[in-house]
Amino acid sequence: MSDFVTLENLTLAYGRTIAVADLNLSIAKGELIALLGPSGCGKTTTMRAIAGLLTPRSGTITIDGRDVTRAAPARREVGLVFQSYALFPHLSVYDNVAFGLRLKRAPDLDATVRAGLKTVGLTDFPNRKPSDLSGGQQQRVALARSLVMQPKVLLLDEPLSNLDARLRLEMRMELQRVQKETGITMVFVTHDQSEAMALADRIVLMRNGAIEQIGTPEQIYTAPHTGFAADFVGFETILPDGKGGGLAWRPSAVTLGAGPHTGTIRGASFAGERREYVLDTALGTVKADTPATEPRRALGDTVQFDLPPDRAVHLAQVD
């Protein structure tokens, strides 16, 4: 069951530029996977390859036991909710949702469309055009349009990044609810680690066209393997050990005011509950924070600090 979707030795390229090199990934049925990474890491490219919008240079993609590496997008039973939503502007909400069902001459079209609109909470205006809807509503239409096709895998490209903060929380809960109700396998792409943490069963952290680390949000958050992964989840002070590995601390793990090391405060900012400091030290840049209730330290101040070993994570690779 853990290989409902598999990517084997997948290499993807745009012309001569290799975007993803030799990637391997297995996704279980019903899993919610986040492809996480900065722009240019290959996450969107990987998603497009699963959808069939990009033919791999080499490697294999299977979905539910079937090799779909060269299959046309329409023959993969994959849905994709685009970042721009990509609704058809000349069709009503209803006709957008019915579009794919009509093509495959689905029985019970009307009931299916209405059920789809109900799933995403959009039953009020089936006859409106997409341009008359808010961004959040447009996204729901796009979601319904994909869901009614009962795809084996639903792909979502940056599903939350175009929404304002309030809608983002709402949509996040919506996606979790839809996933729970339908049990559909979901893969979503994001550059926002907090989004990935909040939504995903497993996070695939990507960098430069390769997988940096795979794990549950807890695993990635508490035990990043590399300097890149550590930095991505907030271990902002990283000390290489000179043998390729290293140690990393979160700002809250650094003790300020006492300890064997000395540093100069180069940056200080107030972040509500905490005060954040950047220190120039003999070890390199150290980032620390303290509860806002502690007295404020000024720029240029010299402070003692400690990097307690018991609060560090061990990194296998730092570069």
Partner: protein, 258 residues
Amino acid sequence: MNRLAVWSILGLTLTFLIGPFVIIVAAALSAGDSLAFPPQGLSLKWFIRVFEVDSFRASFGVSMFLAVFGTLTALLLGIPASYGMARYQVPGAEAILLIVSSPIIVPGIIVGLALLRYLVIPTGVGIGLALFLAHTALVLPYAVRVVSASMENLRVDMEEAALLLGCTRMGAFVRIVLPNIRGGVLAAFILGFVTSFNQVPVSLFLSGPGLRTLPIDMIAYMEINYDPSVAALSALLAALSIAIIFAAEKFLGFSRYV
């Protein structure tokens, strides 16, 4: 600038633009036998006369045929060309656009002469076919440019969404692209139609006995008969053009595309 000057310039400009049309309509309503302004008396007889001249009927048919089918052919070539240039990184797309536009840049006299001298005479191609090719080529720039403009804000991910929902590439083009560029295509058709219908210099070289476009036929007619029927015909054609543009504006918002 004072108000008087503004109104004078405005008045002169409008007179200059609309004046000829007013004079032609007035001359066409004349009861006299020669083309003159002001008209001698009032009558509709020259409007009736227009429909009695055989050559007008024949050349009107030729012009309609060229305008309709030349423009349709240009669209048949121009829509895929616009689509290709919008969707794919075509090497030298700028140059292609320039070449496609050359019929509106190169003077019609030269195009007509060149077609006669280097197409019709050496190859013996029929004048009808040459006329058809020439009109298609003349309309192509409008087809490509107007359709390209309406394709610009059509995002590619809409087509990709259609592919994922079960369309073939061709199906996505027909179901998603075409409906969304419909206005541009109709605008291109109207522009092309009017351009072709009013074309003189190129047609001049490619008309011969038995095959003339309406404008060329009108010139030929005037050389022999200097009567108001040409004015009546012009007035009718102008009215037709105005009706088409009004209808297009009303139903399509034509001015968005031109």
